[in-house]
Amino acid sequence: MAYITCKDLTLGYQDGIVAEHISFVVKQGDYLCVVGENGAGKSTLIKTLLHLIRPISGELMMEDGISPQEIGYLPQQTVVQRDFPASVWEIVLSGTLTKCGRRPWYGREEKELASKNLERMGMKEFKTRCYRNLSGGQQQRVLLARALCATSKLLLLDEPVTGLDPKATEEFYELLKSLNQEGIAIIMVSHDIRTAVRQASHILHIDKENSFYGTREEYMTHMDENALHTTVQHKTGDDPADGKKGVDISL
């Protein structure tokens, strides 16, 4: 059984199509990296997966007891958050909000869940600390703990390492890997094709005309062929920028 199945999805808004022919499957334990150029439709895909916008055509199915609200979402940081006076505890607890239903306040179960996930991220001693005084890596851990409060199955991350230093980036990827090994499916949107290829089990490359979906190995052969193709083209005087792609991912 798959958590998410997309068949020939067309993404976009009322005023136009952003990306077409997107098909992929996310099962338990999968680690899917979504890569693509700026404006290729990565954030549109995120919004569609979260059911904030409807796909123009195609099928988007969520099964196996997953509802859109049960995706643990880790959005990009906003300006608002940078100087927000909130304690780590308040933020993590806010991840359990969907579990409250119509109740206006958090119950004991929600608090236990938040506490558990805080510990899981190794941030327990930061519980009463202020979010704005933490380092970038620590902030991302807090937001990850919040996302884990909303889900136990599927995480959706939007460019999670933007602005982190190399060490924090490495640690964050390690953390994701260990969560993935615990059985949580991960969908990560990223610029960083190099890491995507190193980390993920599956790759979705969104492109205006021909999007690619397949396992990591399939993607690498696909890109190599493409690189070969573009180098040949390059010799005949085509756009040299494209040729770089092949160099970028060869490990």
Binding site: P68, P75, T78, P85, A86, W89, E90, S94, L97, T128
Partner: protein, 282 residues
């Protein structure tokens, strides 16, 4: 000192002074709780813009010689609030410019209307008192006081009931939307409450100084506290204390009420600024 106390006792025996104190503290309470959200959402200027809209609406209402001005001012301000908060969501600069445009525009139109159509002999006096608030607050009727109490109870009730959701939406709107919270409804609620508080506060401090009530206590609290609940409660307390002492001071010194409250707020902010500086250094 003894003189002051007897003088105060004398003043407090007048119902209108008691009304001012009740209305003043309630408005201070509501506006500071709201202010924390507005400041954090980068909407500090919306208070300023809306108060000018309220001023314009008031000018039109008095030119039309409406008996009950609030029933005209309130809807106009609420609509402006909804429009402004909506543009603010999409693009930063556009929203910013929209506030400035609406703010200056309604100020100018309001003054023009007052100048051309006002029946009163002392136009500049009228304008001055609506901009800086003065006499209106001293002529509050019992009915207005009850209305103010009722609205404050509603505002505070809504705030307490939706506290967790308000926090989640303010901190991270994208995450909130993803977990199935209808953020549009909360932004609408925020717009409506902001408009209501501003119209209420216009009588007290006048339309130019309302932003001060909204932003100063919030900024003071944020300087020294590190959690959201603490900031909300502390800014409410600060705001109530500031405006209570501001009103007392203004009565004793026969100074304008609005400006005195704001001056106290500024002084308190300065103290907190220094406190915050020393707290964060160590």
């Amino acid at each position: 000192m003894r003189d002051m106390i007897t003088q105060l006792q004398l003043y407090l025996s007048y119902p209108f002074v008691r009304y001012v104190l009740i209305v003043g503290t309630l408005i201070a309470l509501c506006s500071s709780m709201l202010g924390v959200i507005l400041v954090l959402k980068r909407f500090s200027f919306i208070g300023d813009g809306l108060s000018h809209v309220a001023f314009g609406a008031m000018a039109v209402a008095s030119a039309l010689k409406l008996a009950d001005q609030t029933t005209f001012i309130m809807p106009v301000t609420i609509i402006a609030a909804i429009l402004l908060l909506r543009t603010g969501q999409n693009t930063k600069i556009k929203g910013d410019a929209a506030v400035a445009m609406l703010s200056v525009g309604s100020l100018a139109v309001g003054y023009l209307v007052l100048h051309k159509f006002s029946a009163s002999a002392n136009v500049s006096g009228d304008v001055c008192s609506t901009l800086f608030g003065s006499t209106a607050i001293l002529s509050l009727t019992e009915k207005e006081v009850w209305m103010c109490v009722g609205l404050s109870v509603v505002v505070i009730g809504v705030y307490c009931l939706f506290y967790n959701r308000i926090f989640t939406v303010t901190f991270d709107e994208n995450f909130a939307r993803a977990t199935g919270i209808n953020t549009g409804v909360y932004n609408l609620l925020l717009a409506v409450i902001t408009a209501v508080v501003i119209v209420m506060a216009m009588n007290l401090v006048g339309s130019l100084l309302i932003s001060a009530l909204i932003i100063f206590p919030a900024l003071s609290a944020m300087r020294i506290l590190d959690n959201f609940k603490g900031v909300i409660i502390y800014s409410a307390v600060l705001s109530v204390v500031c405006s209570f002492s501001g009103i007392i001071l203004s009565i004793l010194e026969s100074a304008p009420v609005g400006a005195t409250i704001v001056a106290v707020d500024i002084a308190v902010f300065f103290v907190h600024y220094l406190l915050g500086y020393f707290l964060h250094r160590t």
